[in-house]
Amino acid sequence: MRESTLWFWHIIAGAVILVFLGLHMAIMHLDDILALLGTGYANTVSAATVFARSQQTFFMVTYIVLLGAALYHGLYGCRTILFELNIGKGLQKLINWVFTLAGVGLFVYGTYVAIYLYKMKEVLP
């Protein structure tokens, strides 16, 4: 039943990505439309706006959730592709470990950056 649990979370992560990546796309690429609605930023990709967003709790949380979902979804997908190459049990175990460590490592690092930016007081020039 382990495989069905992994797959279940893969689907949940896909749904999370759909929502949060949609949000990301809207903010980054539909800025003109959002500005008309009075919700957009002046220049979405400037360092000052990126920094300003990072200091909001909502964005900090969404960054972390999106990072976790994207890492899990992507790494599970890569694992599936590799498992279909008729590899042995030993190699499957190694892939599981490497992907778990890589996923957890990248998630911890990304979360650290998101929290660090959130707590940073000094605004970039």
Binding site: M1, E3, S4, W7, F8, I11, F83, E84, L85, N86
Partner: protein
Amino acid sequence: MSESHANAPQKVIFEVLRYIPGVDAKPRMQSYEVPAPKGLTVLDGLLWIKENLDPTLSWRSSCRMGVCGSCAMFINGLPRLACANQVAHLHSDKIIIKPLPNYAIIRDLVPDLEPFFAKHAAIKPFLIRKNIEELDNPTGEFFQSKEELVNYIQFAYCIKCGACLSACPTVATDDAYLGPQALAQAWRYIADARDEGAAEREEEIFSAHGAFRCHFAGACSEVCPKGVDPAFAIQLMKQFMFKKKLGGCKEQHGSELAPPVENWVPKKEYPKAPEHSL
């Protein structure tokens, strides 16, 4: 042009993969010229070759009417039943025939279906009931409504020809993948209201080489000669598992015994069934 010549059947070339272990180092193609009268099926053509040109040519076939599933072959680029495909309908004067892909070759057009049937057996393709006593000593029939029959009937049309596995891109890379046939049959029984064996089958069908390896290419459904949709069955099975994880699936309870038929009067126009001979 004389009348006899005008009525002479058109000829087609049958290019057939030949491989005789111990004789051929590797598979090779061999061409045969076959007269193709109206209505000639690929299987008829092969039989004509065996009777008239080459008695060493081997393949499997039995019923000649698309029921037994023995004569599935790779014909002009698709897995098809040799008996159910007329040469004229292939719209080509060259018929290229190979054994089903994704299987080892035993000889010529005979694939080794051993792994196929092992996968089929692994999903326990029979009704599983908790009450073994009733199965061993049946006292009646398990009830099934017409609506419950619709839930699985199309998957019960599988004739086990093996065409779906030969078209599946996942089977092509992962030998251990259960494949569309076994998974569709697993769903056929899980969806059966009389069955109580979903939990017993889950370990196999949701393993690392089970339903989750399906990429929904849909090639299995495309080539099935009986119109079964195994890709759909696999998606239904994934949905079943997803709902179960969310706690939305009730535990399977097989249907009760159907009440005995009362006040039944045999119709006069129907002949009486013969007595049991065994």
